[in-house]
Every structure is written in structure tokens, then in C-alpha cells.
């Protein structure tokens, strides 16, 4: 379970998150929507431990562990996964090597047995097939020369292989056509179960047609101003953010 209490964060002197309260119970998928600049991406970065953000107040725990005091790799080993809005290119690092290194690093941190190269290839190929990714994407350098859609699929592939307990998807739908969107949504839905929870950050309701959330939260100016069921997303789609933001003010 993810529990965020009164979380405040800043970049330098600029306050971005101004007291976020959010609870995502085990097994649930929550969507966070909001206008540009509301702090959606900052929330995902603070939870995953990206340097450059100062937590100025509040707490965030996952299954009782204090996330904010952990290194990014420790959070990953605990089961936290961030699907990047802009996946990073790693020239000179092969995708297969990257994925296996990451998987084994996590296994090592958890005291589990590492996976050997043939075992990994079998696992990766099966997941790639489900995501309609060609085998040669394992041989290519991480995200180098990938189209926008391929990069997002590669994020979902990483998620499928690393099997996190908490996935944070930061605008994973941006830049995807409808077919790719369905593939990505299927990839997320296939992870759903009693031990998987997700925070789906999105600008548009469209993704939520395919990944149906248990709860929807609206983020504005660094605070959650409204929460509701999936119908809240439809209301936002119909009326825009302005009405809800005005109502909350």
C-alpha cells in the first residue's frame, strides 16, 4: 500500500507539491489527472527518488517502508517502478544487457537467485511477444533510434520483466497511436492483481478507457483538489479542468 501524507516538495525555492494526501491500497489502480504544471510529474519523480527535488514536508511510505529516505535503486528493489514520460536513451548499452542487469540487481538486493542469460532471454522473448515487439529490440541500444511508441512499449516491457508492486506511469499514453495505446494498456492490465498497484498519471481520459482506474484524483497547483470514481475522468473530459479548479478555489 502506498501512503502519502501532506507531501511537500520544491525545486530550489519553487514549491511544486503543496501538501499531497493519497492512499493507494494494494491491488488498486489510481489515476492522477491535472492541468500542465500541476505537479504530476514532480510527484512521480519524488516517489522514485530523482535527484534535484527537495522534499520539504510530509511522508511517503510503501508497505510501511519510508520511501523518501531510500536511494532510487533501493526503491526499485522494493518494487517501485517509474515508467518515464520521456524514456532515456542509453547509447552503447544493449537493451538485453540493460534489462538483465536491472533484474539481477533487484534480485540480488532482495536476496533472490539471479537469472542466467538463457533463462532471461526466454522470459524477455515471451513478454516481447505479448507486447508485439520485434525480437531485434533486445539487441538494439536502449531507446536509441526508437520511435515514441517503441520507447513507451520498452517501458512497459521493463515493467513486465521487473514485475513491480507499484508502477507509476507518467503520461505513458503521450505520443501513442490507438493501436500502441491498446498494447500498452494490455501490458499494464496483465500486471493487475492483488499484489500490484499503480498510479497512472495522464492528461487525457482516453487511456482510462483501456486501464480502468479504481479511483481518479485531480491534481492542481500541487494539491489533490478532488477525488472520485472513474466517472470523474469522464466529467473532466466533458467540462475541462477549469470548472473543477474554479470550484475548488
Amino acid at each position: 500500500m502506498l501512503e502519502i501524507k501532506n507531501l511537500e516538495a520544491a525545486i530550489g525555492d519553487k514549491a511544486i507539491l503543496r501538501g499531497i494526501d493519497l492512499v493507494v491500497p494494494k491491488g488498486e489502480v489510481h489515476a492522477i489527472m491535472g492541468p500542465n504544471g500541476s505537479g504530476k510529474s514532480t510527484l512521480s519523480y519524488v516517489l522514485s527518488g530523482r535527484p534535484g527535488y527537495d522534499v520539504t514536508g510530509g511522508t511517503a511510505t510503501f508497505d510501511g517502508h519510508d520511501l523518501l529516505s531510500m536511494e532510487p535503486e533501493e526503491r526499485a528493489a522494493l518494487g517501485v517502478f517509474l515508467a518515464f514520460q520521456y524514456p532515456v536513451e542509453l547509447p552503447g548499452v544493449g537493451n538485453a544487457n540493460f534489462l538483465r542487469t536491472a533484474l539481477n540487481a533487484q534480485k540480488r538486493a532482495r536476496g533472490e537467485a539471479e537469472i542466467d542469460a538463457p533463462g532471461f532471454l526466454k522470459l524477455a522473448r515471451a513478454e516481447m511477444k505479448r507486447l508485439s515487439m520485434p525480437d531485434d529490440m533486445l539487441k538494439r541500444n536502449v531507446n536509441v533510434g526508437f520511435s515514441g511508441g517503441e520507447k513507451k512499449r520498452n517501458e512497459v516491457l521493463q515493467m513486465a520483466i521487473l514485475k513491480p508492486k507499484l508502477a507509476i506511469l507518467d503520461e505513458t499514453d503521450s505520443g501513442l497511436d490507438i493501436d500502441a495505446l491498446k498494447i500498452v494498456a494490455d501490458g499494464v492490465n496483465s500486471q493487475r492483481g492483488p499484489d500490484f498497484s499503480a498510479v497512472v498519471i495522464t492528461h487525457y481520459q482516453r487511456l482510462l478507457d483501456y486501464i480502468v482506474p479504481d479511483r481518479v484524483h485531480v491534481l492542481s497547483a500541487g494539491r489533490i483538489i478532488r477525488s472520485g470514481g472513474p466517472e470523474l475522468a469522464l466529467e473532466l473530459e466533458a467540462n475541462g479542468y477549469a470548472a473543477i479548479v474554479a470550484e475548488a478555489a
Binding site: S48, G49, R50, P51, G52, E71, P72, E73, R75, A76, A77, F81, L82, F84, P87, V88, E89, L90, P91, G92, V93, F98, T101, A102, L103, A105, Q106, A109, Q158, L162
Partner: protein, 424 residues
């Protein structure tokens, strides 16, 4: 003023080498006339100094402060140093402190090898470089390797071990000569390791006949107290290839200088390198590529990783003669700075006298990318391992063309060990 003192120190160092020569002159093997010529040059010009454009970034001051002696005749089994030489399934010629060791070596069958004296060759002349003059004056031994026309001689490993068995600093100046007949092939893997303080000043000439291919792979992992000043002269005939890669990790003060001349049409030269430096190491990679015939191609990808207070130098000169139309020249130097106290000096130089050529060069200096580092860590890769992955990735472009599997493995191993030392 100190500027006036430096040449004096260099001059006295040159005089010490000259007096050593006077003492050895009667005993040195081979033609003494060429040695006398070299001595004359050194006597009048001294060692290279900071006022020379080619030596602006690499000062031999610290070398001039050391008194070097003649190595004793080596008899030790050198087991410890030999254990650092990766096991290749190939004949190997082992030189200990510059002298050939028959008892440790295995001689190739497909190439003719002569040892027991300097292999001066015709390419490196004392008058062209002062370090070649120093080598010529004092060279005692070397390998003369020739591959007959049309023969693929496979792989030959040339090993240099620098020992600390003398109780004082020693200097050695091996002189090697490689010649490939028409259409011949050879992969020469040079590996140099050592312990203690010494000067290793090898000169190697490579004559590549038309249609011949010489692959020259070097691992310079010498003593961290050593001075290593190597000079290579390669001359490539029509349709021939000189494909070289240097991995430089060792030494205190090092310079690897390569003169490659493309003398016949459609000749190719690759002068790639990776330098990995730490602490107070200084490593200079200097290349001079001369395009003297049309339709030739040269490629240089030089990657430098610097940590601690190390200093890297790359000087790359491409000369294109008037006749060398349709030249394709490429040169790239990239440096990765892992600490705020290191320094990279990168100097490309293009001299082009032909009007229909394609020559490009570039240099970049940067740090590890914070975004890439976070991306790896967010996937569970610990920070130190993530940094290693990015350093290795940075080197990939330079290492990628190396197809010789055993050398590639040895280089990966050396790079991994280097990283472990940094992380420790």
C-alpha cells in the same frame, strides 16, 4: 625564471643518455653509423621540450628528474608479470626490460622472426623525431617480423615486461620492425605490463604492402610509476589496411605517437584509442596521418575517461597532399570527466592541400549524464554499477570495431579491473 631551467633539466637528461651511449657504443649490436647520427642529433637538440608545438601539453620534466640505468641481464621467471598477460592461443614474443627472452617465448610458424638486435627498418629515421633518435642510439633488441606475400600469419603477441628487479630505475628502447608482403595478413597484439620505475621507449615500424592488412591491437597497462614513450611508423601501400587500436591504462607519464602514411590509392588507416586515466596519470595520444595518394580513408575514434587529477592529451593531425583527391578523413575525440580536477587537452589539426576531400573532426568533453544515471538507478541498478555501465557505454564506439575475440575479452577485463580500482 623557471622557463630557463626546464630545457636545462631536459638537456642534462639527454647528456646522461649520451654518456650511457658512449659507454655502450662498442658493445651495441648492428650498424654503429646510424647510432652515431642519432647521438649527434640528440647532442645538438636535446629531448623534446615544451617550446615545441608537438610537445606543448606533455612535459618530460618529471622524466628528466630520474636517473635511468642500464637493465641487468634478466634471468627471473617473471611469473607474476606473466600472470597478468591474458592467455592467447597464439605464438608470443616476450621481451623483459627490452630484451628478448627465448625461454619464455614461442615463435610463430607463419611469419619469419628475427631477434637479438634492433630491427631498425627503413621507416623511422632518427632525424624525424627526437625520441626515435634516443631509441636508435640505445636500442639493444627488437623483433623483426615479416609475413611473406599472400600469407595470413594469424595472430602474434608481442609482450613487454618491465621489471623492478634492478633496485633502481632502468631505461630500455626496443626497436621492432614489421613488414607484410603483398596481400599478407597479420594481427599483432601488443601487451605491456610492468612494476616499478622505468622508461620504456619503443619504436615500431610497420610496412604494409599493397592489399595487405595489418591489425595492430595494443594494451598498455604498464607500471603506474613508469614512463612510456612509444612511436609507431606505419606505411600503407595501395589497397592496404593498417587497423590499430590502443587501450592505454597504465604508466605515470605516457605518450603514444603514431605516424601513418597512406602511400597508395585506396589505402585505409584506423587509429582508434581508449585512454582510462586516474590519480596523477598523464597520457598523450598523438597521431599524424598523411594522405599521400587518392581515394584513401582514415578513421580515428579516441575516447578518454579521466578521474582523479589525471590529464589526457589528444593531438590529431591529418595532412592531405595535393595528389590525395577523394580523401575521406574522420577524427573524433570525446572525453568523459569523472572528477572536477582532471583535464583534457584536445588538438585537431587539418592540413589540406587537395581540393576534393571529405575531412571531419570533432571534440567533446562532458560528464556522466545525470538523466541516464537516474534511469539506470530507477531500474534497480546500484549507483556504482550504473556509472560503470555508462563509462563502458561511452567507450563502446571505440571498442566496437575490434573483432579479435581474445583481445576484446582481454580489454574488457582490463577495463573492468580499472573500474574496480576507481571504485575501491
Amino acid at each position: 625564471m623557471s622557463a630557463a631551467l626546464k630545457p636545462t633539466a631536459l638537456q642534462s637528461s639527454a647528456l646522461a643518455f649520451l654518456s650511457r651511449f658512449e659507454g655502450l657504443r662498442a658493445r651495441l649490436p648492428g650498424d654503429v653509423a646510424i647510432r652515431d647520427e642519432a647521438a649527434g642529433i640528440l647532442r645538438s637538440t636535446g629531448l623534446p621540450g615544451p617550446r615545441e608545438e608537438a610537445w606543448r601539453y606533455t612535459h618530460l620534466r618529471s622524466l628528466a628528474e630520474v636517473e635511468f640505468n642500464e637493465p641487468l641481464t634478466p634471468v627471473a621467471d617473471c611469473a607474476d608479470l606473466l600472470s597478468r598477460i591474458p592467455d592467447f592461443d597464439a605464438p608470443r614474443l616476450i621481451f623483459v626490460d627490452g630484451r628478448f627472452r627465448d625461454d619464455l617465448s614461442t615463435v610463430p610458424s607463419l611469419a619469419a622472426v628475427r631477434v637479438g638486435g634492433p630491427a631498425f627498418g627503413a621507416l623511422a629515421q632518427p632525424a624525424s623525431e627526437k625520441l626515435v633518435a634516443l631509441n636508435t642510439m640505445l636500442a639493444e633488441d627488437g623483433a623483426d617480423i615479416s609475413v611473406p606475400a599472400g600469407v595470413d600469419a594469424g595472430t602474434v603477441v608481442l609482450v613487454s615486461l618491465g621489471t623492478d628487479l634492478h633496485g633502481r630505475a632502468v631505461a630500455f628502447h626496443p626497436r621492432h620492425n614489421i613488414s607484410l608482403g603483398k596481400g599478407a595478413k597479420l594481427t599483432l597484439v601488443e601487451i605491456a605490463v610492468g612494476d616499478g620505475v622505468y622508461l620504456h621507449n619503443p619504436v615500431l615500424s610497420v610496412a604494409v604492402s599493397p592489399e595487405a592488412t595489418m591489425t595492430h591491437l595494443r594494451i598498455q597497462d604498464e607500471s603506474r610509476s613508469a614512463f612510456v614513450l612509444s612511436t609507431v611508423y606505419a606505411d600503407v601501400g595501395e589497397g592496404g589496411t593498417y587497423d590499430s587500436f590502443l587501450l592505454a591504462l597504465g604508466g605515470k607519464l605516457t605518450r603514444a605517437e603514431i605516424h601513418a602514411r597512406l602511400g597508395g590509392p585506396n589505402a585505409i588507416a584506423h587509429l582508434n584509442a581508449a585512454q582510462l586515466l586516474a590519480d596523477h596519470q598523464h597520457a598523450d595520444f598523438t597521431t599524424i596521418v598523411s594522405h599521400d595518394a587518392p581515394n584513401c580513408a582514415s578513421r580515428q575514434t579516441v575516447k578518454t575517461v579521466l578521474s582523479g587529477k589525471s590529464r589526457g592529451v589528444f593531438q590529431g593531425k591529418i595532412e592531405v597532399a595535393r595528389v590525395a583527391q577523394k580523401t575521406d578523413g574522420y577524427q573524433m575525440n570525446q572525453a568523459l570527466l569523472l572528477s572536477p580536477d582532471c583535464e583534457m587537452d584536445s588538438k585537431p589539426q587539418l592540413e589540406i592541400y587537395a581540393d576534393d576531400v571529405k575531412c571531419s573532426h570533432g571534440a567533446t568533453v562532458g560528464e556522466l549524464d545525470a538523466e541516464q544515471l537516474f534511469y539506470l538507478r530507477s531500474r534497480g541498478v546500484p549507483a556504482a554499477e550504473a556509472r560503470m555501465m555508462l563509462v563502458r557505454a561511452f567507450l563502446d564506439e571505440a571498442l566496437e570495431p575490434i573483432t579479435h575475440e581474445a583481445t576484446r575479452t582481454a580489454m574488457e577485463h582490463a577495463i573492468a579491473l580499472w573500474w574496480e580500482r576507481q571504485a575501491a
